[in-house]
Subunit: 144 residues, 2 copies
């Protein structure tokens, strides 16, 4: 591997791309008055798929710090999109669930997200997707 190669700013490119996507998503949510942030959406999406999970599990699934999840959930509870429910078996645990309003929000926002993903991948192939996944996974797993 050449030195030029190693010096190249892949970190920067990842960061720039992600920011661009995040920005686009947020602007689209705002334009459609969805009253939601990108990260709030990510939590809702996972809660929809897994129905009833704890802060910890949600944190692992979303690659977020438990602290961060706890605070985003706080906001979602205030918006009445999520309810917290203590576990009777283990009183340390708190189960999270979408409310009806939360489920409705999911169904409202999901089409926007699908559209935006299509936009982002325009002109790219499934092969490209596989490659991207492979390379990102490799980098991820290289890091101690």
């Amino acid at each position: 591997m050449t030195d030029t190669f190693v010096s190249n700013p892949s970190f920067f490119k990842l960061d720039a791309t992600l920011k661009r996507i995040r920005n686009y998503w947020q602007k689209t949510f705002d334009a459609h008055k969805k009253d939601i942030t990108v990260d709030q959406w990510l939590l809702i999406e996972n809660l929809y798929k897994h129905k009833k999970i704890t802060h910890n599990e949600l944190a692992r699934m979303t690659s977020k710090d438990i602290t961060t999840v706890s605070r985003i959930i706080e906001l979602l509870v205030k918006k009445e999109l999520v309810v917290r429910e203590g576990s009777p078996q283990d009183r340390r645990k708190v189960f999270l669930q979408l409310t009806q309003k939360g489920t409705d929000k999911y169904k409202e926002v999901r089409p926007l997200v699908l559209d935006m993903r299509k936009t982002g991948w325009a002109g790219l192939t499934e092969q490209d997707y596989t490659e991207l996944t492979r390379i990102l996974d490799a980098i991820y797993n290289n890091i101690p």
Copy 2:
């Protein structure tokens, strides 16, 4: 492009990989007592390369908001790694430059960064790098 494909969480994978890299870099900086954050490093790196630029130019180069750059620079000035110098030609502009201490910091930290890049790319080829760049650029340019 299939629906399964579009539903796949590429955003999430990008985010997770970037967080992992960022975390690894920060922990390495801390372990070597470099007293610097990853984003502070990115600004220093660009100031080293471009010597004398404004907040605006630095923001464009790093894909950061001018606001963010302004505040990170504030911290770097406090650490005496950067000096601000008003432009006599255009009194709205402020030129930024590394101090000697800032230049020293750059030279101190740079080897760590090169090592970490090598670690991240272990087992991957230049071809992989080219592919990643191509795909990320395509996504970036697809976004309106």
